[in-house]
Symmetry: C3
Subunit: 310 residues, 3 copies
């Protein structure tokens, strides 16, 4: 099958068609099965190098990309945070990317500024994968989220979804909502405090795709959905600490709240969580967030494999 | 030979029998010989991943585990210090361990709090190796120390030992004393300032095992022992800097002090040292601490090999 | 051909003869061709470990050594900056080097103090490569620079050179000038503000080697040279910020300044640059600094290969 994946940049989840994502999921299935049998027979990326340019700190994304690369036989180089790098000496992003492009076969970039990954992709000859930039784009997280929904429900499209928490600054939530313009939900509930409403761009994308969505309260929707996607509400978003304390209680999922949920309900969270999902939920059958985290490695392995060939 | 090592957690040196430790030492002998001949013929852990979760900084332990893993063909992922990790975002230890468990085949943890490694082992499906936690447990250091004594003397049991320095907060010293409940000394001298006396738990363990020990002064014991295990006395333990300066002089080993020592005396130190062992000692035949440090890699290779099979 | 490279320390560019450097360049040619064809057929350093001891931060040098080692099949261990290492606990350099010597097959060291690499080499049994120490020595950078000149002009000797910027504290500039005592230029212009004049040692080395050099202004020499080696002028060198602003303008290369340049002129820079080379230069045929950066990996691969054999 001719693939559009080879050598490709991964900037936004919106760059991909449903068919391409399904190709990725099939590849991830294969990888996952191989890992379960004790590892891959061959090391398809032996001799390749992946650069991890984490201008903004991250544990989960960085470590799962690193694990993915190494399980495929590739090496990694890179940095976390600007400290001790040439960026601190005043080097601009373009020159840093040119350096990484000279050293590696693929660049994963995380950066606080919107558009950094796209800019890097324009400069680099090597494929660039967005490991999270700005407020909206974290496409590989969205791929993992969709893959986990597919695993739980056998399909992604036509389900009832709620997305909960910080829909304004949380890039995982934004990417997930954008992904739902590709695999359209039956219904989509958005649950957020007024300060953390989704951005205009995300709302427009949902509208253009004809996705039906409405704002709702957490308690109302728990019984109405197949997927509950919860995200962290950061203290820093609230100038008034009391306001934060008040808001946070309303967006917190506990085991007792899930008593009226559908049997099929899966609770997702991009992690790390603080207390948006109470630990009482961990032992319910609805807790899929650890499985979701586990999917980080096989999905990213599939992605690297498709892009770098082998 | 059926081995109890496969898939096993390593939390405390007390979890192991004499037979199990001897099995480890034999494996370390083999590894050491292979390294001396230029490296292993095969790479038995090819395709495996070891996670290094160093919540507390460390160079020696971290780098020697990393070297051990890589010389066996395994990859490593991990972090040092909580900066830039999801722990800083408020994630609890359990979720961090679950993540590492999802990504890697074995987890090495170092943490300042007592019991962290045990807690991690209860959460993770992958084997957990304690790279040092709290004030007492640093089991792989104790394995290296015992192995070095065996190398120097041909045996571990029945020798005369002195342990010197911070017996209260130093986890290497505590682990070494605990290890001497498994391989019992003929005599054991403990040399420490009053503020840094061994903890109740360690004293009880020695008593229960029937180990004869007594407090002594450094100068008295130097001529009486086969093994002198020296550890660092940290300035931070003394509220009064003058008190520190006074104390420190009495726990410092110099070449001239070793003139009356037994021929067979070996001086050990878990390193890094500051000035507890004067550099004049380095060129004496008693200086075994660099050989002890060199044993870090083969002993940890043997350990990883026994646990992860291959 | 019998090679003097095997097992060798790399402390100063002056330790090497013209013939030895030419051997390195031929090896780099081979490596570069292999990389262009998609990587090396074999992984000649499989099972080897390279320690990267960066007491002083660096991105480019560290990452290109790491990339070089990994592309050859070797693993790497190491640290960047003294934070979180045993150096912070008061360990001296000698003990840290002994530890790395115990763990790895080759040590790359970067340190702010002159002579650190030589000192490390005296302690370690493993070969030591100077990744930059003090104000004068950065021999692998000089190797990359010479290799890039050779690539651009087909030869290194007998060309007209200018070296621009901080000739006093910049170790890349100093190493490059020292390298020109091995491959002698036809003419050598030195362009620097009075505060940043080359050190006595460098001047003496040039004199002893019979290299004709003279101080000149940037504008004067641009039309007269085949190689323009530009380096950064650091703000920190100027107690008076206004003085810095005034000086900096006179050592800045722009595209329009290059209009009267020889066709063959190549502009080099060890990078990172701040604004000593205007971005307008990037798209001219004279801009060779990115190619120079790209050469970092194949030249360092050739070096590791020659030293570690395989």
């Amino acid at each position: 099958m001719a693939s559009g994946w080879r050598g490709r940049d991964v900037i936004s989840i919106l760059d991909f068609t449903r068919g391409e994502l399904e190709e990725l999921f099939l590849e991830a299935d294969k990888v996952k099965m191989a890992l379960r049998r004790g590892g891959l027979q061959r090391r398809p990326l032996e001799g390749k190098l992946v650069a991890l340019a984490f201008f903004e700190p991250s544990t989960r994304t960085r470590m799962s990309f690193e694990a993915a690369a190494k399980r495929l036989g590739a090496g990694t180089i890179g940095f976390t945070g600007p400290e001790g790098t040439s960026v601190e000496k005043g080097e601009n992003l373009a020159d840093t990317i040119r350096m990484l492009d000279a050293y590696a076969d693929l660049i994963v970039i995380r950066h606080r500024y919107e558009g950094s990954a796209l800019y890097a992709a324009e400069i680099a000859e090597a494929p660039v994968v967005n490991g999270g930039d700005g407020r909206q784009h974290h496409p590989t997280q969205a791929m993992i989220d969709l893959y986990t929904v597919r695993e739980a429900h056998g399909r992604v499209e036509g389900l009832d979804y709620a997305v909960v928490g910080d829909l304004r600054y949380g890039r995982a939530a934004a990417s997930f909502m954008l992904a739902l313009t590709i695999f359209r939900p039956r219904r989509l509930y958005l649950v957020y405090p007024p300060q953390l409403a989704p951005r205009r761009e995300v709302v427009s994308a949902l509208e253009r795709a004809g996705v039906r969505f409405e704002r709702a309260e957490l308690e109302e929707v728990i019984g109405e959905v197949d997927v509950l996607y919860v995200t962290r509400i950061q203290r820093e978003r609230f100038p008034d600490p009391e306001e934060y304390e008040r808001v946070r209680g309303s967006y917190r999922v506990t085991a007792s709240m899930l008593e009226g949920a559908r049997d099929s309900l899966v609770v997702l969270h991009p992690l790390p969580r603080v207390d948006e999902i109470d630990h009482s939920v961990d032992s319910t059958r609805h807790a899929w967030y650890f499985r979701q985290a586990r999917n980080g490695v096989p999905v990213r392995m599939a992605l690297l494999k498709l892009i770098l060939g082998g």
